[in-house]
C-alpha cells in the first residue's frame, strides 16, 4: 500500500498522475520540484524505507534508451534497455538496486510517450534485430496494474518489425498480457530460483509455483517465454537443488515457445556490494564464498566456473543449445 506520493510539479496534473492519485486516494500527496530531491539525498536508509516505500511520479528528460552490455544478449548484437520505473516492489537480497540507490521509494516516469519516441527512433536506426529490455531497474510487470506502462507500450512493438521487447519479471500480474493477442516479438522472461532459495532471499516475490503457473498460462496463450536463471546462488547442495529445479521448470515448458534461457551466477559491482553488505550484514548470501577484491564481486573463479558448467550441462539435457545464453561480467 502506498502511503505517500511525491509528484513533480511539472507532472502534477498529468493524466497518469491524476489516475494514480485517485487509485491511492488515501495517500499523502507531496509536491516536489524534481524527483531527485526526494530520491537522491545521501542520509537515507534503503532497508528502513523498504518497509514502507513511497511512490514518486516524475518526468524523464533524457537517456530514455540506453545500450545494454553485449554480455546480456539473448541472440542479438543490438541490445538496449529502458527504465520507466526505478526500484522494485520485491525485496530480493541479491538485487543490485539496493546497492545502487539510496532510497527504496519507487520512481515512475509518467511521460511514456517520450519512451515510445526514443524506442522507435532507436529501432529505426538499426537494420538488424534490436532487443529492448524493460526490466533492468524494476520488475517489468509487478506494478503494471498501477502504471499501465506495458499495456501502453505493446502496440508500439506490434508495429516495429525489427524490435523485440523483453519483459523481465517475477510477477504474476499477467492479466494485461492474457487480455491481448500474443506477440511473437515480446518475450516474457521469468526470473526463477529454486524454491528454498526463493523463500530465503526473494522476499515479497511470488513463490516459484505461482510464477510457473503464470508462465504456463502465458505460454498457452502463445507468448514467447524466457527463462532467466540469473543469478545462480551457491549453497552446499546447489547441484542437487538446481538439478531438481531445472527438471521442475522444464516439465512446464513447451520448447517450441521457449525463446531463450539465460544463465549467470550472482555478481554485483564492488561499490554496490559494499552498500548491500552494510544494509544486510546478517545475510547468508554475503557470508558465502565470494571474491570481494575484484571490481565485480562474484564467487571465486573456480567455483563460478564449476557452477556454470554444472548448470549448463544440466540445462542442455533439457533444451537446445542455441537457446541458451551465458551472462558474464568479466572483471
Amino acid at each position: 500500500m502506498i502511503e505517500a506520493i511525491y509528484i513533480e510539479q511539472s507532472v502534477f496534473d498529468h493524466p497518469r498522475s491524476k489516475a494514480i492519485r485517485s487509485r491511492f486516494s488515501q495517500a499523502r500527496v507531496i509536491e516536489c520540484q524534481r524527483y531527485s530531491e526526494v530520491f537522491n539525498p545521501k542520509a537515507q536508509n534503503f532497508r528502513l524505507q523498504k518497509r514502507q516505500p513511497s511512490l514518486i511520479l516524475a518526468e524523464k528528460f533524457k537517456h530514455f534508451v540506453l545500450e545494454a552490455p553485449l554480455s546480456y544478449s539473448i541472440g542479438s548484437q543490438r541490445n538496449y534497455y529502458f527504465s520507466h520505473m526505478l526500484n522494485c516492489i520485491y525485496d530480493c537480497r541479491y538485487c543490485f538496486l539496493q546497492g545502487m540507490y539510496r532510497s527504496a521509494n519507487y520512481v515512475l516516469f509518467v511521460n511514456y510517450e517520450a519512451f515510445d519516441a526514443a524506442i522507435e527512433e532507436t529501432a529505426c536506426q538499426v537494420d538488424e534485430p534490436a532487443y529492448f529490455f524493460s526490466g533492468y531497474d524494476c520488475d517489468s510487470l509487478a506494478l503494471e496494474p498501477v502504471t499501465g506502462f506495458i499495456k501502453h507500450v505493446l502496440p508500439l512493438f506490434r508495429k516495429l518489425d525489427n524490435a523485440w521487447l523483453e519483459l523481465r519479471t517475477k510477477s504474476t500480474q499477467i492479466r494485461g498480457l492474457l487480455d491481448v493477442e500474443a506477440m511473437s516479438n515480446c518475450i516474457v522472461a521469468f526470473s526463477l530460483t529454486p524454491e528454498i532459495l526463493a523463500e530465503a532471499i526473494e522476499h515479497k516475490a511470488p513463490p516459484l509455483a505461482k510464477r510457473l503457473d503464470a508462465l504456463e498460462k502465458l505460454q498457452r496463450a502463445g507468448w514467447p517465454i524466457g527463462l532467466r536463471f540469473d543469478p545462480v546462488i551457491y549453497c552446499d547442495n546447489y547441484q542437487l537443488l538446481y538439478e531438481a529445479f531445472f527438471e521442475q521448470v522444464f516439465a512446464r515448458i513447451d520448447l517450441q515457445l521457449l525463446h531463450s534461457v539465460s544463465l549467470g551466477v550472482f555478481r554485483v559491482p564492488q561499490a554496490y556490494y559494499r552498500n548491500m553488505v552494510k544494509l544486510y550484514p546478517e545475510e547468508k548470501l554475503f557470508a558465502g564464498p565470494l571474491s570481494a577484491s575484484q571490481p565485480v564481486v562474484s564467487y571465486e573463479t573456480a567455483l563460478e566456473r564449476e557452477m556454470l558448467t554444472f548448470c549448463r550441462t544440466k540445462l542442455l539435457q533439457l533444451m537446445p543449445a542455441n537457446k541458451l545464453f551465458m551472462c558474464h561480467d568479466h572483471n
Binding site: 539525498p41 537515507q44 536508509n45 528454498i196 550484514p281 547468508k284 558465502g288
Partner: protein, 268 residues
C-alpha cells in the same frame, strides 16, 4: 538518545515536566535538559540558532546516532490553533531548498508542508505552515543520522482568525501540553525505527582480538566483516582462543578466512 530542539523555553516547559528532564549546568550558550533517554536543547529563535543547537547536542555524544525532533509552534492559514502537525516537506524560504522527511509510520496527526522564514510573518500562505527553525534544524540534524529518524513536529499557534499577536507563553505551553500524547506516539515509532537501524549497524565484538594482536584500521574492518560472516554461517561468535597459535594479525585474518571457507552454506 532522543534529541529535541525547541526555540523557546515556553515550548520546552511542558516536555521538561512530562519527561522529567533535569536542567544541566549552563556552561555554554545553550540550556540543555535531559534524562536517561532524552536530551532537550533550547536553541533560541531562527534557523541559525536551531542549526547551532543541533551541532551542540551532537557534540555532547559525537560518536552516537540519535533520534532528532524539532518541536515548536507554527502558523497556518486554516488549521485550528492547537492542532499538531508533522512536516512532510520543509522549505527554506530564503534559498528555496526543500527537504522531505520520510515518514515510515502512520502519523498520529496531519502532515503538512512547512516553510521556514527568516523574519516573523504575519501573512499566511494557503495550506502551508510557517516557522523560523525547521530548515536550519533539518539541514543540520540530517547530517548526524539517517533522515528517517529526523522529524519536525509542530503545534499550530496562530491562523487567520487567531493571529500571531495573540500567541503568549501561556497559550504556547498549553497547546503543546495538549499534544504530548501525539509526541509520545511519534517518539515510540521513531524508537522502533532506531532499534531496527541499530540492529543493522551492530558490529560484532572484536575486543579480545585487539587485546591480543595489533590490527591496523583496515585490518580491523576486515576482522569485523570476517566475524560477521562467521556468526552468520555458524550462529556463534568468533572465539579468539581458536587462533592463539597465530603470531600476528595477518596470520589471524588468514586463519579465520581458511576456517570460514570450509563452513557449510545452506539456506534451508
Amino acid at each position: 538518545m532522543i534529541h529535541i530542539v525547541t526555540a523557546l523555553f515556553c515550548e520546552a516547559k511542558p516536555l521538561i515536566h512530562h519527561y522529567r528532564l533535569n536542567g544541566q549546568q549552563a556552561e555554554n550558550g545553550f540550556r540543555v535538559y535531559e534524562n536517561d533517554t532524552m536530551r532537550l536543547i533550547i536553541a533560541g529563535m531562527g534557523k541559525c540558532a536551531a542549526a547551532a543547537a543541533c551541532a551542540y547536542l551532537q557534540g555532547l555524544a559525537p560518536k552516537k546516532k540519535h533520534i532528532w525532533l524539532n518541536l515548536g509552534i507554527a502558523g497556518h492559514d486554516s488549521l485550528r490553533v492547537g492542532e499538531a502537525i508533522l512536516a512532510q516537506k520543509v522549505i527554506d524560504a530564503a534559498t528555496n531548498t526543500a527537504w522531505y522527511p520520510p515518514l515510515l509510520f502512520t502519523p498520529p496527526c496531519r502532515t503538512v508542508t512547512l516553510i521556514s522564514v527568516d523574519q516573523p510573518e504575519t501573512g499566511y500562505v494557503t495550506d502551508v505552515a510557517c516557522d523560523m527553525e525547521a530548515s536550519g534544524f533539518y539541514a543540520t540534524a540530517a547530517r548526524f543520522n539517517s533522515c528517517e529518524l529526523v522529524q519536525v513536529f509542530k503545534v499550530i499557534s496562530d491562523n487567520r482568525v487567531s493571529p500571531v499577536q495573540q500567541v503568549s507563553e501561556k497559550t504556547t505551553q498549553e497547546i503543546i501540553r495538549q499534544q504530548l500524547d501525539k509526541l509520545d506516539a511519534i517518539i515510540q515509532q521513531l524508537r522502533e525505527l532506531e532499534a531496527r537501524l541499530a540492529e543493522q549497524q551492530r558490529k560484532p565484538a572484536i575486543d579480545f582480538f585487539l587485546q591480543r594482536w595489533h590490527f591496523t584500521v583496515a585490518q580491523q574492518h576486515m576482522l569485523q566483516r570476517l566475524s560477521q560472516r562467521w556468526q552468520v554461517l555458524t550462529g556463534t561468535a568468533l572465539d579468539s582462543n581458536q587462533f592463539v597459535a597465530e603470531k600476528n594479525s595477518k596470520a589471524v585474518l588468514g586463519a579465520i578466512e581458511n576456517k570460514i571457507s570450509v563452513l557449510p552454506v545452506r539456506f534451508d
